[in-house]
Subunit: 312 residues, 2 copies
């Protein structure tokens, strides 16, 4: 019996100006999943964490991904998984995407890598659909591929890997709840053409900055005139955090996914630590509990490790 | 007395999905300007073409650029210029930008290159303002810099050079008039968020395609769901031209600037010629007079040649 251990990283979707089209993988936090292949068509889920997520495969993000793989291949194949989540559900740093992408990559590995990346993303999007009601890939793609992913189109799926400079990332997760559905509901259906033009200038600048390794251009381009002004209302302390992080030297940043986490990019670890201190100061003062992470861009995506099983 | 000859290339602004932020320089057509420095503060303009453009410096695109340079430096300096336009005014391939950029680069060269690129773009934008009422840089920047330019922001000016693959470009200029002001007037002030998202996915894809030298990605990204559906109404034959050019093998393309010219990008000259034939076929059938150009991306922008003056 083969057992594998899969590490599925957290991700920052949107990247400020790239709403629904860009995402970036983090080295921390990272979920761990241990998966074995079963010779009967069922999915068994064990949780090894404090989150009490459902173990019914139909109601579990990883579960539905395993089920969709099984539906595709048919026969007497199943999966048993033990999930140890380190990415808190509802944090806005791709918790459901990590479960979904981890399950897809694990299943594929155990089956002898019969699926390509686009197929894995399709499987994993079933998990995102369960979690948020929408099939989106801006967390899943970077989780699987590492670095920055551009989702040029969902129908048909067109994912482009954008190599990212070795940026340092600071994340603060204030312990408040922002439901993805609410964060989506609050958005206006129409935007001003002039704002859209400014936004696509920034998106083009961000992509050019990443590909040209121009950190200052990345910083200048991290501006969102459409989504952030609306969504940031749901995150207490947002404006203060952003201002004091920039003062501490951050290149820029904003809401991670649909929040409540806020991320900031920095050129080096010293600055990333100063940015963390600035974030802490704000939430200490506001009396809101929080977690912080100081990490780097994950360049490889979900990784797989074989576990040797010794029979006694 | 020093005399210089300046070659100012035509340009394609917008590049389909990059409305107001992207532009690309062409090797053909190209204006020629002969410029000498005067030792009195005046501008003398001669036209060596059929277009009857104004020779009053205040009403001439190159003239106002020379005047703005003179205002900046003061003293007894002036310019005499002979302009030989090959880029037809109103064609949508950057005729006014070539006059403006050519004048700025020529003046700077004669003054010993005292201004940087951003300053040249600022001077040249005065010419665009005279021509279209708006200070825009999406023709001027690529005209001066060559390749593809990204105008991330106008206030403050933030221009990013995007190296372009050696693409082949076919342009057809149907002999109809589309006034820039009309083409701007027709646009909706608001756009659907979902369309804006699709557009910025394409812009990100186009920039990534250019920087990664991925011609197929460039082709897939040349899609405009916001401006083209509205503006193409002003250009008879547009949909047919686009469809038949793609059938002939073009990567993609669309309206050049605000039209009426239509441009198409191709991987090689053979395809670019087949695309030209497809364009001709449509306008022959419609009975509309036209010009075509089959050219390549100009990688160096405005170029300057010294002219030796022999005294007899």
């Amino acid at each position: 019996m083969r057992k594998i251990k899969v590490y599925a990283p957290g991700t920052v979707a949107n990247l400020v100006c790239g709403f629904d089209i860009l995402g970036l993988a983090l080295n921390e936090p990272c979920d761990i999943m241990e998966v074995t292949l079963l010779d009967e068509p069922k999915v068994i889920i064990h949780n090894r964490d404090e989150f009490n997520l459902p173990t019914d495969p139909e109601k579990n993000v990883a579960g539905v991904v395993f089920l969709s793989v099984m539906e595709k291949i048919g026969g007497n194949t199943g999966f048993e998984v033990t999930i140890e989540k380190h990415i808190k559900p509802g944090s806005g740093i791709g918790s459901s995407a990590a479960s979904a992408a981890g399950a897809a990559v694990a299943a594929n590995h155990l089956l002898g890598n019969i699926f390509n990346t686009d197929e894995l993303i399709q499987f994993a999007m079933n998990g995102e659909k369960l979690a948020s009601g929408v099939k989106h890939a801006d967390n899943i793609a970077p989780c699987i591929l590492g670095g920055v992913s551009l989702i040029r189109s969902i129908h048909p799926l067109d994912i482009i890997s954008i190599p990212s400079p070795d940026l340092h990332v600071t994340v603060v997760h204030p312990q408040i709840e922002v439901r993805t559905a609410d964060a989506r509901q609050i958005l206006r259906k129409q935007v001003l053409l002039k704002d859209a033009i400014r936004q696509w200038g920034n998106i083009a600048g961000l992509v050019a900055g990443l590909l040209k390794n121009d950190l200052d251009l990345i910083g200048r381009s991290l501006e969102d005139v459409i989504i952030e002004p609306v969504r940031s209302i749901l995150i207490p302390g947002f404006d203060e955090v952003k201002a004091s992080c920039k003062e501490a030297g951050a290149l820029g940043g904003g809401i991670s996914g649909s929040g409540p986490s806020i991320f900031m990019l920095s050129k080096n670890e010293t600055t990333a630590r100063a940015v963390e201190a600035a974030m802490k100061e704000v939430y200490e003062r506001l009396g809101i509990a929080y977690y912080t992470y100081v990490t780097t861009v994950n360049q490889k995506g979900v990784s797989v490790e074989e576990i040797t099983i010794v029979n006694h």
